[in-house]
């Protein structure tokens, strides 16, 4: 595979946390329901829980308030406390992905630092989803959409 730095179908972002890599990995995976925005889900109704099956091939799953379960990704790399990667099967129609869904890829790496952990996230192969994301972006990018929900969640977890 060629270098990702020039791949125009990838995004990368990183944060520094004060936790150890072991704890940072655990919060990102086993603790995903503690930080994931409640407004972000693919099924109808309210998001009840979001989770990760902790092994390669495991599901990235969510349940709604009616008890319906949806698999929206698969674990590609499970190497605690260093690397966690999963496929992202949700297309721009933001519908429950079918069994034949082709996904993009999210890779999260945890690197120890003097003060904690550097967490880098790369979401690449975005071109697998095809066109149509302009509608998603325009629909949720404004205040009141998901970003607002995420801000509220960040505030709530900080208190």
């Amino acid at each position: 595979m060629t270098a990702q730095t020039t791949d125009s179908s990838a995004v990368r972002t990183s944060v520094k946390v004060s936790a150890t890599p072991e704890r940072a990995f655990e919060v990102f995976t086993a603790g995903i329901d503690s930080w994931w925005t409640r407004a972000h889900h693919v099924q109808s109704g309210q998001l009840r829980e979001i989770g990760v099956d902790p092994h390669v091939g495991g599901r990235m799953w969510e349940t709604n308030d009616a008890g319906d379960v949806c698999t929206w990704g698969r674990v590609l790399t499970w190497d605690p406390p260093r690397v966690f990667a999963f496929s992202w099967l949700i297309g721009p129609d933001w519908a429950v992905p079918g069994d034949d869904a082709v996904g993009s890829r999210v890779t999260v790496t945890f690197t120890p630092t003097d003060t904690g952990t550097h967490v880098e996230l790369v979401h690449d192969r975005l071109d697998t989803h095809g066109s149509g994301w302009e509608y998603v972006r325009d629909g949720v990018g404004s205040d009141g959409g998901w970003p607002a929900g995420l801000r509220q969640f960040a505030t709530a977890t900080a208190t």
């Binding site: 020039t6 995004v11 944060v15 946390v17 940072a24 996230l121 066109s131």
Partner: protein
């Protein structure tokens, strides 16, 4: 995009618009095969084509790929902010 040749063409176009001839000179597959991959990419809304004289110039379609990138850039930046808050809070409780 499972086909490695198609991905190579796509990533090549990430560096800038190219003619079919130039693309075929950069990947180890035949020119008809390159054209077929470009057709698939165009049908998916990922590349655009423009005729310049007798040449056909292909480029990434910013409406297709750029929108997804913009969307996820914002999405993950905000999501990781929430993750950071949680990870740091748990650290403090230890």
């Amino acid at each position: 995009m499972a086909d490695p040749s198609r991905r190579a063409i796509f990533e090549l176009l990430g560096a800038g618009p190219q003619s079919v001839v130039a693309i075929a000179g950069s990947v180890p597959i035949s020119r008809p095969a390159v054209s077929q991959h470009l057709k698939v990419l165009k049908d998916a809304g990922l590349v655009t084509v423009q005729a310049v004289g007798t040449r056909r110039i292909y480029a990434l379609d910013p409406a297709g790929v750029g929108a997804a990138r913009d969307y996820f850039d914002q999405f993950w930046t905000t999501a990781l902010a929430a993750y950071t808050q949680t990870a740091n809070t748990i650290k403090e409780e230890q």
